[in-house]
C-alpha cells in the first residue's frame, strides 16, 4: 500500500545536521572539472572581438586577415553591418565590450593574435555614461524614446495628512553604486557538434534554461541539445537568464570550424559585458511623529541598469509607512545591461531605507532597534524581525552602543549598526526527481538541477539519506546534466525549495517498494516497517529487521525505481533576518574596518546546516564588499571602465574579514525555503550605520571609501563652522 504521507519527519536523522559537502574532496584536490577545465579531442579556443567604444556604429568588419593567421579554423562576424535585419540601428554597439566578431584557433594564444587581426571600422557616436547628465537632459539622446524612462508613480494613503501628522521631517538623498558579479570562473562554454546535435558544457545556473536558449537561437530542436554543468565557479545571478552572446558565439564557431570550441571570457570581458547590479538612488522627504511612527514618505528614485535595462528596487524596504508616494526613473547609459545579482534590488532598497531609518530615529531620540520595531509589519512566521532584533541585540551587546558619534578622544572611533532583510525563496515545479535503489544497496537520486557552489549536490544527498535512514555518503546524487531531466534554473534562492519536495517524494516511494519486498521475509506488515540507522526494521524493534545491504538483496535484478515532483506543503516562501555590525573608523585616514557581524536568519526547515551557514558567511562578505570596496567606475569623458580587473576592482581579502557569528533559526513546520540571497541584503546598511554611529556623520552613498568618509567628515566640519 502506497504511503501518501510525504511530510518531513518529526525527528529527522540527517536533516538540519552539519553534513560535509559531498564534493569537497573533488574540489580541494583539483579533480572537479569546471567548464574552464573541459578538454575535448581536437578542441579549439574561441575569442571575441569587442567594441572599444561605448557607442558606435559598426561600418565594416573584415575577418579575412584573421583567417590567414596560424592555427585559425573559423572566424565570424557577430554584428554585421552588411547583413542587417531590419533597421540600421542593429549595427550599433551600445557599450564598451559589446560583441562584434569572433575567431577560433588551435591555441588560445593564436586565437588572441587572430582576434587582434580582425579589422573593424567604427563610426564613433556620442555616448552617455554619466547618470546625472542623462537625468538632467544635458547628455546626448542615445536611446530611442529618451535616456530616461519614468515608471508609473505609486501612491498610497494621504501624503498631505501624513506630513501634517509628522513632528519632524528630513530630506536627504541616498545612493548605491553599480557593481559587477565578478564570478571567479568567468562566463564560458565548450560546444561540440555531432551533425545537428549540440553538446554544451557551460558555466550556468540553469542547464535546462541554457538548453532552451541554444535550441531557440540556433533553430534546432531542444531535444538535440545536451547541456552539462557538473561544477561551476560562481554565478550570483549573472549566469541565470541566458547563455549570452558568448554562448551562442561559441556554438557558431564550433559549427563553422567543425570542431569542439572552448570560449571562456577573460576578466576584463567579465566586468564589461556579463551583467552588473544596477545603481539605486532615492531623494526622499519623510516625516515621523513625536512618538516615533513614520507618517509619510515622498520618494523620487532612479537608477541605471545600463543600455536599455531597468533598475528597480523596493523603497521603502519592509517598514510600514501608511502615506507614501514614489516616482521612479530608469536611466539608460552606454554600459552593459544589468543581470540579476544576489537578491536583485534588495541590498539597494535596504541601504536607501535603513540609513533613513537611523536619521529618523535620532530625530525622535529613539534607539534604532526600538524605532525599527515600532514601524515593522506584524510578526508572522515569515516576518520574525521583532524577535530577531531583540535576540540579536542581546547577543551582540547592543546595550553598549553609544549614541550617534563616538565622543572618545582617540581618532579610532567605534560604532554599531543594525539592519533587516526579507526574501521570497519559495519553490516551484516541475522539478522531477528519480530515485533508484539497486540490489547491491546503491542509491541514486537523479535530477536535472545544478550546483552553483551553494551545496545543492550535498542537499540532494541529505534529503535522500534522511528519507531512507542512511548517511549522505551512501547516496549518489546525479545532477548537472540535461539528460537527468528538467528542473528550474537556480535563481532567486528557489533551488532548495523547488527540488527538496520531489526528492523526498521519490525517496519515500522507493522506500515503500523496498518495504513491500522485505516485509514477507520478516513476516510483518510493510506498514509496520521503518528505515532508520541504516536498517529496515519494525519500528522500535531492531531485532525484527535487516541491515540496509541485506534488505536490498530482496530487490532482484531490476533496481527499484520511483519518481517524485514538487508539490505544495513541503516548502514555503519568504524568510526574515536581522544583522548587526560593529566597525572602527579612523577619522584621520577614513579607513573603515568591520570588526564583528552577527547574523540572525531563518530559512524554514534547515536541510543542511553547515552549507546553509556558509551561505550566511558568504552573504555577509559579499555585502561587506558592496559596502566598502566594489565600484564599477566609468570614465566620465571616454565612457571606458577604469577598473576592469581584480586589482582596482576591489574585493575583500582575508585581513578585511570580521568575526562573523551566525544564528540560523530552524522552522521545520514551514518546510524548505531558500537561503542564498537573504543574508547578503542587509550587511552593507548595518556597516554604513555603524560608521554613522562611530563618526556622528551620515555617509549617504556607497561604497564607504576612505575618500568618501573623509569628504563627508570635512563637509560636516565646514557646515559646523558656518553655523558657529
Amino acid at each position: 500500500m502506497a504511503n501518501e504521507d510525504f511530510s518531513w519527519p518529526a525527528s529527522p536523522s540527517v536533516l538540519g545536521t552539519r553534513v560535509k559537502r559531498l564534493d569537497g574532496p573533488d574540489k580541494v584536490t583539483g579533480r572537479a572539472k569546471y567548464t574552464f577545465d573541459i578538454a575535448r579531442p581536437g578542441m579549439l579556443y574561441g575569442r571575441i572581438v569587442r567594441s572599444p567604444y561605448p557607442h558606435a556604429r559598426v561600418v565594416s568588419v573584415d575577418i579575412s586577415p584573421a583567417q590567414k593567421m596560424p592555427g585559425v579554423k573559423a572566424a565570424l562576424v557577430w554584428r554585421d553591418p552588411a547583413n542587417l535585419q531590419g533597421n540600421s540601428q542593429d549595427a550599433r554597439v551600445m557599450f564598451q565590450g559589446d560583441e562584434v566578431a569572433a575567431v577560433a584557433a588551435d591555441t588560445e594564444e593564436h586565437a588572441i593574435d587572430a582576434a587582434r587581426a580582425i579589422k573593424v571600422q567604427y563610426e564613433v557616436l556620442p555616448h552617455v555614461t554619466v547618470v546625472e547628465k542623462a537625468l538632467s537632459g544635458s547628455a546626448p539622446e542615445v536611446f530611442t524614446g529618451g535616456n530616461v524612462r519614468p515608471a508609473q508613480p505609486q501612491k498610497n494613503g494621504d501624503l498631505e495628512a501624513g506630513f501634517q501628522a509628522a513632528a519632524h521631517t528630513i530630506e536627504a538623498t541616498y545612493s548605491t553604486q553599480v557593481i559587477t558579479h565578478t564570478c571567479l570562473e568567468s562566463h564560458g562554454t565548450v560546444c561540440e557538434w555531432n551533425g545537428d546535435k549540440l553538446t554544451a558544457w557551460i558555466s550556468t545556473q540553469g542547464i535546462n534554461g541554457a538548453r532552451e536558449n541554444f535550441a531557440k537561437a540556433l533553430s534546432i530542436p531542444q531535444a538535440n541539445v545536451r547541456v552539462i554543468c557538473q561544477y561551476m565557479g560562481g554565478g550570483f545571478g549573472s549566469k541565470a537568464l541566458s547563455v549570452g552572446a558568448e554562448g551562442l558565439i561559441c556554438a557558431k564557431l564550433a559549427k563553422a570550424a567543425n570542431a569542439p570550441v572552448k570560449l571562456m571570457l577573460d576578466r576584463k570581458e567579465e566586468h564589461l559585458a556579463t551583467g552588473n547590479r544596477p545603481s539605486a538612488a532615492s531623494k526622499v522627504k519623510v516625516g515621523v511623529s513625536a512618538d516615533g511612527l513614520i507618517t509619510a514618505i515622498d520618494a523620487e528614485t532612479w537608477g541605471t541598469g545600463g543600455a536599455g535595462a531597468t533598475a528597480g528596487f523596493p523603497m521603502p524596504y519592509i517598514y510600514q509607512i501608511p502615506n507614501r508616494q514614489r516616482t521612479h526613473k530608469d536611466v539608460f547609459i552606454n554600459a552593459a545591461q544589468q543581470r540579476p545579482m544576489r537578491a536583485p534590488g534588495h541590498p539597494q532598497g535596504s541601504f536607501n531605507t535603513e540609513i533613513m531609518m537611523d536619521e529618523l530615529a535620532d530625530k525622535v531620540n529613539m534607539d534604532p532597534v526600538e524605532f525599527r520595531i515600532k514601524n515593522l509589519p506584524p510578526e508572522a512566521p515569515n516576518a520574525m524581525w521583532r524577535s530577531y532584533l531583540r535576540e540579536g541585540a542581546a547577543e551582540f551587546g547592543w546595550s553598549r552602543r553609544h549614541p550617534t558619534g563616538d565622543r572618545t578622544s582617540s581618532p579610532i572611533k567605534t560604532g554599531m549598526g543594525v539592519s533587516i532583510n526579507t526574501w521570497g525563496g519559495g519553490g516551484r515545479g516541475p522539478a522531477p526527481a528519480h530515485c533508484e535503489i539497486a540490489s547491491d544497496g546503491g542509491v541514486v537520486m537523479r535530477l536535472g538541477t545544478q550546483d552553483l557552489g551553494t551545496g545543492t549536490r550535498t542537499l540532494v544527498a541529505v534529503v535522500t539519506a534522511d528519507s531512507l535512514g542512511l548517511q549522505p555518503n551512501q547516496v549518489r546524487p546525479e545532477i548537472g546534466d540535461t539528460l537527468y531531466g528538467v528542473s528550474p534554473t537556480s535563481g532567486g534562492s528557489t533551488t532548495a525549495a523547488s527540488i527538496s519536495p520531489g526528492i523526498r517524494v521519490a525517496a519515500v516511494k522507493a522506500l515503500d517498494t523496498l518495504k513491500e519486498k522485505v516485509a514477507p521475509a520478516l513476516g510483518v506488515d510493510p506498514a509496520s516497517l521503518v528505515a532508520q540507522g541504516g536498517r529496515i526494521q519494525v519500528k522500535d524493534d531492531p531485532a525484527k529487521g535487516l541491515s540496509w545491504a541485506d534488505a536490498c538483496k530482496h530487490i532482484g535484478p531490476q533496481p527499484i525505481v520511483a519518481d517524485g515532483d514538487w508539490r505544495p506543503g513541503l516548502s514555503s516562501n519568504t524568510t526574515s533576518g536581522a544583522q548587526f555590525a560593529e566597525v572602527t573608523v579612523d577619522v584621520e585616514t577614513g579607513i573603515v574596518k568591520v570588526t564583528r557581524v552577527l547574523v540572525v536568519q531563518d530559512c524554514g526547515l534547515v536541510v543542511s546546516r553547515l552549507t546553509a551557514e556558509s551561505q550566511c558567511y558568504g552573504g555577509v562578505i559579499g555585502s561587506l564588499n558592496f559596502a566598502l570596496f566594489e565600484d564599477r567606475i566609468l570614465d566620465r569623458n571616454t565612457g571606458q571602465m577604469v577598473n576592469p580587473n581584480m586589482e582596482w576592482y576591489l574585493l575583500a581579502g582575508m585581513s578585511d574579514i570580521p568575526r562573523i557569528d551566525v544564528r540560523l533559526k530552524n522552522q521545520p513546520e514551514r518546510g524548505v525555503v531558500g537561503i542564498g540571497e537573504p543574508p547578503t541584503v542587509s550587511t552593507a546598511a548595518a556597516i554604513a550605520l555603524a560608521v554613522r554611529n562611530a563618526i556622528g556623520v551620515t555617509v549617504r552613498s556607497l561604497p564607504l571609501t576612505p575618500a568618501r568618509v573623509l569628504a563627508t567628515l570635512a563637509e560636516q566640519k565646514a557646515v559646523g563652522q558656518q553655523k558657529a
Binding site: 559537502r21 565557479g233 551553494t454 586589482e647 581579502g653 582575508m654
Partner: protein, 204 residues
C-alpha cells in the same frame, strides 16, 4: 603574496654581495670576464615560435613544445591536463593560480613557463597521496572552507606554502599569508578556521 625569502637553489648572488666580494679594484675586470662567458655559454634567444620546455611538476618531468609567452598556468592547464589550479584574473590579483615553485608561492598566471625550468613546481593536483588528502585539504573539507570551489586550489596551495614556512602561524600570519587570494563566494571565515586547525599537524 610575499616571496621575500632568499632563493634556495640557483646562484645565490645579489648585487650587494657581488660588489663586496669583487672589491672596487677588481670590478672592471670581473665584468669583462663575465660578459665574455655569457657570450659563449649564455642562453640563446628563443621564440617567438614554439620551443622545448621541460618542467618538473609534482615530482615528474613534463616535456612541452610551447611558445615562450605561455605562462606556467596555461602550460600546465592547456598542455599537460593539470587543471587543478584555476585562472581567475590572469594578472596576479586573485590567487586562484597559486603554485609552489621551489617552496615559494607564485602566481602561475604571471610566471612564464620557460622561466621555471629546473625548479620544483607543485600544484594542487599533486598534494593528495592517492585518496588520502593532504591535512590542509582535509581541513578545508571538514570546516566547509569552500563553496563553488574555484578559488580553493589557490587557497590550498597558499595555505600549504604558509604552513611549510610557519608550521604554527599566528592569526596575523595566516591573514597576511592568504591576503593574496580572493574568494568571491565569501568563505574566508571558514578558510581561516581550517588553516588554524592544521597548526602543528605533520605535513608532507
Amino acid at each position: 603574496m610575499a616571496t621575500n625569502d632568499k632563493p634556495t637553489t640557483g646562484m645565490n648572488v645579489n648585487r650587494r654581495n657581488f660588489l663586496k666580494s669583487a672589491g672596487v679594484a677588481g670590478l672592471a675586470e670581473t665584468i669583462v670576464t663575465h660578459g665574455d662567458a655569457a657570450a659563449q655559454t649564455g642562453p640563446t634567444p628563443v621564440g617567438p615560435g614554439e620551443t622545448p620546455v621541460r618542467l618538473n611538476v609534482n615530482g615528474k618531468n613534463i616535456d612541452l613544445m610551447i611558445e615562450p609567452r605561455v605562462t606556467l598556468l596555461d602550460a600546465l592547464r592547456t598542455r599537460a591536463n593539470l587543471t587543478g589550479n584555476k585562472r581567475g584574473c590572469d594578472r596576479g590579483a586573485c590567487g586562484a593560480c597559486t603554485m609552489l615553485v621551489d617552496g615559494h608561492t607564485v602566481y602561475s598566471c604571471s610566471t612564464l613557463a620557460i622561466e621555471v625550468q629546473g625548479k620544483q613546481i607543485r600544484t594542487v593536483d599533486g598534494l593528495a597521496n592517492g585518496s588520502e588528502l593532504h591535512p590542509v585539504q582535509q581541513a578545508f573539507c571538514d570546516k566547509d572552507a569552500l563553496m563553488c570551489g574555484f578559488c580553493t586550489p589557490g587557497f590550498i596551495v597558499a595555505s600549504v606554502g604558509l604552513l611549510e614556512k610557519h608550521p604554527n602561524p599566528t592569526p596575523e600570519q595566516i591573514k597576511k599569508g592568504l591576503d593574496g587570494n580572493i574568494c568571491r563566494c565569501g568563505t574566508f571565515a571558514r578558510i581561516f578556521e581550517a588553516v588554524s586547525s592544521v597548526k602543528g599537524a605533520p605535513r608532507g
